[in-house]
């Protein structure tokens, strides 16, 4: 090709020679002829299809040659120099931290209790068991840790409550936090009371189920929420998963009593945390089922604790045989933590037998509670939260008191506690982890009435508490 422009001429010559060179080199590669023949053969006078296939091969080559990358970049990647910097900067904390002034005052005022208040029978039994079994247990309950005193306790509790079987946990706080996740998994629905205590909240959180909260002890709200769930089911065509209602017998944070007759009418499985109500409510002291005269076999799971009325340590979960047996494998706090020491388990058994032998104790608790509450009836400045029959109740500041933040309220309550202590009555503030509670909690003084006081002592305690409250709070009203 000769054109009138010499530059273009050179360009064409260059291109021609390059293409000839490439084709010579290409034909030297073994097998290249086959590829060329195949492509020529497959063309079949259909340029569109050949074009598509060429695109496809190009896509495949690009895909095969791309480097891999991650799609989730949640994890922070630090360069080695940044890691070195962070390691250099770190200073270990001292083993004994410095305490603030307020913490020092609290520590000074910690009272020390001398001697057991219960009957001597329990003390002698405890010493006997201690000499027989020693102090600790060998290991987890599923692995050489279960002793005959454990099974004896489980049987005693089942007979006492009227359920089929019981499983014993070594720590009361983690009992409900382990019982709930062993049955509720992701995708299940839990409807829980807003006033539930911290342990239940953590247990529900771990279970990763869908949680719906209903207003505290409000059965109408609960019904509305259950109806809403049913409508959502129909709308979204969601398949049926397990459904639970979680509530407490006596609410730890408010002293209210759950309305069991209405609760058990719903079709959901009921998990009842009776940590505070077993040993205190009912004719025999068997908790909410005794109080309302309901068959305990109708409740799916009753969770109780031995560190409240039974004066020992640990917790238990009671229900049908399937419920308890399932937790022996899938209850995290049962499988992965040490068994309860023998002495504590035997003491708990003895406490239940004590309750059986002396049924008047429960009536005494009830009468002491009503004496205390009637003496506190006209107290100004604080509200007495809790149902009439509940031996656990809270004293909370009324809204008119001049205290805006939680720290100020706690300080006022601590002054009341200190004043009562100076006059011979030990009270204590209820401790909350305010930062982690799901719903707002007001600071309070929690009072639990015991059966071991006489009527005169209760009246005196009520009078001292009332005067302490009046003394501290009378100038703090807005």
């Amino acid at each position: 090709m000769n054109t009138s422009y010499p530059i273009l001429n050179d360009l064409f010559v260059f291109l021609n020679s390059t293409i000839t060179d490439i084709s010579i080199v290409y034909s030297r590669i073994p097998g290249s002829g086959i590829l060329l023949k195949y492509i020529k053969n497959s063309h079949q006078n259909d340029p569109f299809r050949t074009f598509l296939e060429a695109l496809l091969v190009l896509f495949a080559i690009i895909y095969l040659l791309t480097k891999r990358y991650r799609t989730d970049n949640n994890l922070i990647e630090l360069t080695p120099s940044e890691i070195e910097e962070l390691v250099e900067e770190w200073q270990p904390e001292s083993l004994v931290p410095t305490i603030t002034e307020s913490q020092r005052i609290e520590l000074d005022k910690t009272p020390i209790l001398n001697g057991p208040q219960g009957p001597r029978i329990k003390l002698e039994k405890a010493i006997q068991i201690l000499r027989k079994y020693g102090v600790g247990s060998c290991g987890p309950p599923g692995f050489y840790g279960t002793i005959d005193v454990h099974t004896e306790f489980e049987r005693t509790v089942s007979e006492f409550l009227g359920t089929d079987d019981t499983i014993l946990y070594s720590q009361a706080f983690s009992t409900i936090g382990s019982a709930i996740p062993s049955f509720c998994k992701r995708g299940d629905i839990i409807v829980a009371d807003q006033g539930c205590n911290f342990a239940i909240q953590k247990g529900i959180q771990i279970s990763r189920s869908v949680i719906k909260w209903y207003k505290h002890n409000d059965m109408q709200d609960l019904e509305n929420i259950l109806l809403k769930i049913k409508n959502e089911d129909i709308e979204s065509g969601r398949r049926l998963t397990r459904r639970f209602i979680v509530t407490e017998g006596i609410f730890e944070n408010s002293g209210d009593i759950a309305q069991l007759p209405k609760l058990k009418k719903f079709k959901y499985r009921l998990i009842l945390d009776e940590s505070l109500s077993i040993g205190t409510l009912g004719k025999r002291g068997a908790g909410l089922t005794d109080y309302y005269n309901i068959n305990p076999k109708e409740i799916d799971m009753i969770v109780g604790s031995m560190c409240t009325a039974l004066c020992s340590s640990g917790g238990f979960c009671s229900g049908s045989f399937e419920i308890t047996d399932h937790q022996r494998i899938s209850g995290p706090a049962y499988c992965y933590s040490a068994a309860l020491p023998a002495m504590l388990s035997a003491c708990a058994t003895e406490s239940i037998k004590n309750l059986d032998r002396n049924p008047h104790l429960v009536a005494k608790v009830l009468s002491n509670t009503s004496t205390f509450k009637s003496n506190m009836a006209n107290v100004k400045y604080v509200t007495v939260d809790g149902f009439a029959d509940s031996p656990v109740f809270h004293l909370r500041l009324i809204k008119d008191i001049k205290a805006n933040s939680i720290e100020e309220k706690e300080k006022l309550l601590q002054e009341i506690v200190d004043d009562a202590m100076n006059n011979g009555v030990i009270l204590t503030r209820a401790k909350y982890v305010f930062a982690q509670e799901m719903f707002g909690i007001e600071p309070s003084i929690r009072i639990c009435i015991s059966a071991s006081f006489s009527k005169k002592e209760i009246e005196k305690a009520a009078a001292i508490t009332k005067s302490a409250i009046t003394k501290v709070l009378k100038n703090k009203v807005r």
Binding site: S42, R49, L56, V57, Y63, R70, D72, K185
Partner: protein
């Protein structure tokens, strides 16, 4: 909470929350790790050969039809297995993978990993083979190509955790 009506028909699911990714990394995902086991890659070739042999044994089926049938059944089967079924068949991580198909679970969502490259190359190779052996007939080509397109688009990294027309959405409250 009422039902959210989404405006577009292509919905990108939100990335895993911190809690979910903790659950995902807690244990190895046995449901998706098998693509790296010995023989997991070779079994695809063997399965394709088996289906081809079985379909050509039937007397009144021509070789072209049997190739097309092999191609379609492999594409359909791999689509249902990798891109339709969600979650894991047994519970070992409390539902952290419930909304993800097997393709999204492989390698915890990393893209262009060796397994994914191989599993993309196999349908392409099978398609090219089947067009060659059906003598480039236009109709079978179109059918094969449509199936290939569906399978390939589902494997694109842009479609990671994307749901079209609300199919296979994971309803999370």
């Amino acid at each position: 909470m009422g039902r959210r009506r989404s405006r577009s028909f292509i919905i990108a699911e939100k990335p895993s929350s911190y809690v979910e990714s903790l659950d995902q990394y807690a244990l190895p995902n046995l449901n998706s790790n098998w693509v790296y086991y010995k023989g997991a890659w070779f079994i695809h070739i063997i399965l394709i050969l088996c289906v081809k042999i079985l379909s050509s044994i039937i007397p009144c089926v021509s070789p072209e039809t049997s190739w097309t049938f092999t191609n379609l059944s492999y594409m359909l089967g791999s689509f249902v297995m990798f891109h339709w079924v969600k979650g894991v068949p047994f519970d070992f991580n409390s539902g952290a993978y419930d909304g993800m198909t097997l393709w999204e679970q492989i390698d915890n969502g990393a893209q262009f990993t060796p397994a994914k490259k191989y599993l993309t190359a196999v349908p392409i190779g099978l398609f090219l083979l089947s067009t060659h052996y059906t003598h480039y007939d236009a109709f079978t080509f179109l059918v094969n190509f449509t199936f290939l397109l569906v399978v390939l688009i589902a494997k694109l990294p842009q479609l990671h955790k994307v749901r079209i027309f609300g199919i296979n959405r994971w309803e999370d409250e």
